[in-house]
C-alpha cells in the first residue's frame, strides 16, 4: 500500500470507530432513559437498563477519543489545508463536527460531575438525553457530509432535501443572528444562575 493510501485509511478507520462507539453510547442512554418509566419486572430488561448506564459512559469516552483522532487525521491525511478551507462541503463538515464534539464532551463532563445520580433528577436526565441526542444527530450529519466528500450518496439525502437542507452550500449565520443567539444563551445562563442563587439562599434559610 502506498504511503498516501495508507494515511487516508487512518481517517476512515477512526471515523468508523467513533461512529460505532458513539452510536452505542446513544442507544444505551436511550435504553436507560426508557428504563425510568418502563419498569417491567423482567430480569433481562432490568439487567439491560442497569448495564446501559455505564456502557453509555464508557462508549462515550472511547468514542470521543476516536472522534478527536478522526479530526486530526481528517486535517492531516486527506487534502491540503488550502483545499479544505475553500470547500463549502468541507467547512460544513468541520462545523458540524465541532458541534458534535461539544455535545459529546458535555455529555461526558455531565456524567463525570454528577455520576449515576443524574438519573434521579428530571432536569438533569433530560439535559443528559438532549446532549446525547444532539451529539448523535450531528454525528450522523457529519458522516453524511463525509459520504458526499467521498463521492458517495448518503441515506440522509432524501430527508435533508425534504427539509430544504443543502450540505453543498456553506452554512453561515448573519452577524445579527449570531449575536442574538449568544445574548439569549447568556441571558438564560444568568437567569439560571440567579434562580439557583435564590434557591440556595432559601435552602440555607430553611436549614437554620
Amino acid at each position: 500500500m502506498s504511503p498516501e493510501t495508507g494515511r487516508i485509511a487512518w481517517h476512515v478507520i477512526t471515523a468508523e470507530l467513533h461512529t460505532g462507539m458513539l452510536t452505542l453510547a446513544f442507544a444505551s442512554t436511550i435504553i436507560r432513559l426508557i428504563g425510568v418509566w418502563v419498569t417491567a419486572d423482567r430480569p433481562v430488561w432490568r439487567g439491560l437498563v442497569r448495564l446501559a448506564e455505564p456502557t453509555a459512559y464508557l462508549a462515550g469516552v472511547g468514542g470521543l477519543l476516536a472522534l478527536i483522532a478522526s479530526i486530526v487525521t481528517g486535517f492531516t491525511y486527506t487534502w491540503p489545508a488550502e483545499v479544505l478551507l475553500t470547500s463549502s462541503v468541507v467547512l460544513n463538515k468541520i462545523a458540524i463536527t465541532a458541534f458534535s464534539t461539544t455535545f459529546w464532551l458535555l455529555f461526558l463532563v455531565t456524567r463525570t460531575v454528577y455520576g449515576p445520580r443524574l438519573w434521579d433528577h428530571a432536569c438533569l436526565r433530560w439535559a443528559y438525553a438532549a446532549l446525547v441526542a444532539g451529539g448523535f444527530l450531528t454525528l450522523m450529519l457529519a458522516g453524511s457530509t463525509g459520504g458526499h466528500l467521498a463521492g458517495k450518496r448518503s441515506m440522509l439525502d432524501g430527508i435533508l432535501h425534504a427539509l430544504g437542507v443543502n450540505t453543498h452550500l456553506l452554512f453561515t449565520l448573519s452577524t445579527a443572528a449570531a449575536y442574538t443567539i449568544l445574548i439569549a444563551s447568556v441571558s438564560l445562563l444568568a437567569a439560571a444562575a440567579i434562580r439557583r442563587l435564590i434557591w440556595g439562599r432559601g435552602q440555607a434559610r430553611r436549614a437554620t
Binding site: T86, A95, T175, R195
Partner: protein
C-alpha cells in the same frame, strides 16, 4: 493550266483527317494525363484511418492526436470518429487516472470527469461529475447516466493505460459536449485504486481543441478560489462555529444550574 491560278499543293488526305491527325496526340496525352491523375489520386489518397481499438493498449499511431503532459508524465490520446470520441490515457501510476473538461469553477466544479483504475486486471471506469469545487460524484448517483460506450485498460508495474469511447455529445446534463473550439481539460492521477485518493501535484490543466487536434498546457489553476465572490466567507463561518459551540455550552450550563429544584427519585 490557266494563267492567275496559283497552283496549291494537294495533300492526299482530306482536311478533316488532317485535323484529327494533328489533334490526336494532344487528345491522347490529355486522356493519359487524366487517367494518371485519377490513378495517382486513388493511390495517394489518405485512406480513412481505422478507429482505435479499445483493447487497453495504445499502439504507435493508433490515435489521430495526442498530448504528453511532461510536467506530470501523463499522456492523452484521442480520435474523433463520427459522433464518437476515442480517448486513451496513460500515466506512470498503478492507481487511478482521470481526464476532465470544462469546469465552470471554482477549481473543478461543474467538470465532466472520466476516472478509472485497474485492480486485479479488472477496469473500474466511471463517468463522474464535479458537483463541488473539490468533490465529484458518479453521474448515475446524481440522476444522470454512465455514458462510456466501451472501455478497456491494462496495467503493469509502472504504468496504467485506459481507453474508452463515448459520444461527443451524450445529452446527459452531467456531461460536457465536445465541440469545435478550445476546451479546458484537466489530467490527473493518483496512487490509489479508488475514486477518492487525492492526486496531490499530479494534476495539470491543458487547453485542447479536440476537433482540430491542438493542445497547449495551461498550467495549474491559480490558487484555489474563495468560496464566494466578494468578501471572505471564512469570517462568518468562524462566527457561526463559535456561536454554535458557545450556545451549546451556555445552554447546557443553564440547564444544569436550573436543576437545583428538581424532585428526587429513589435510586434505581
Amino acid at each position: 493550266m490557266s494563267r492567275g491560278a496559283h497552283p496549291r499543293s494537294r495533300s492526299p488526305l482530306p482536311r478533316a483527317v488532317r485535323v484529327v491527325a494533328a489533334t490526336a496526340p494532344l487528345v491522347f496525352w490529355a486522356v493519359i494525363a487524366s487517367a494518371g491523375m485519377l490513378a495517382a489520386w486513388g493511390l495517394t489518397a489518405t485512406a480513412a484511418a481505422p478507429a482505435p481499438v479499445i483493447d487497453g493498449k495504445i499502439a504507435e499511431g493508433e490515435y489521430a492526436s495526442h498530448y504528453v503532459a511532461r510536467s506530470i508524465g501523463m499522456e492523452l490520446h484521442w480520435t474523433i470518429e463520427g459522433d464518437s470520441i476515442y480517448i486513451g490515457l496513460r500515466a506512470p501510476t498503478t492507481g487511478w487516472l482521470a481526464v476532465g473538461w470544462d469546469p465552470s469553477g471554482p477549481i473543478m466544479q461543474g467538470e465532466d470527469i472520466l476516472i478509472g483504475y485497474i485492480r486485479g486486471r479488472e477496469l473500474f471506469l466511471q463517468d463522474y461529475f464535479a458537483n463541488s469545487s473539490v468533490t465529484h460524484a458518479n453521474d448515475v448517483s446524481l440522476g444522470g447516466r454512465d455514458d462510456v460506450l466501451e472501455s478497456s485498460g491494462s496495467e503493469d508495474e509502472q504504468f496504467t493505460t485506459i481507453e474508452f469511447r463515448r459520444k461527443l455529445d451524450t445529452g446527459d446534463r452531467f456531461d460536457r459536449p465536445i465541440t469545435p473550439g478550445t476546451h479546458t481539460v484537466q489530467l490527473a492521477y493518483a496512487p490509489g485504486d479508488d475514486f477518492v485518493t487525492y492526486h496531490g501535484e499530479k494534476r495539470t490543466v491543458v487547453r485542447i481543441d479536440f476537433l482540430a487536434g491542438a493542445a497547449q498546457e495551461a498550467g495549474l489553476f491559480a490558487r484555489p478560489r474563495s468560496l464566494g465572490e466578494g468578501s471572505d466567507p471564512l469570517g462568518p463561518w468562524l462566527l457561526t462555529v463559535a456561536t454554535g459551540v458557545l450556545a451549546i455550552v451556555v445552554l447546557t450550563a443553564a440547564c444544569l444550574l436550573w436543576h437545583g429544584r428538581g424532585e428526587r427519585r429513589p435510586l434505581r
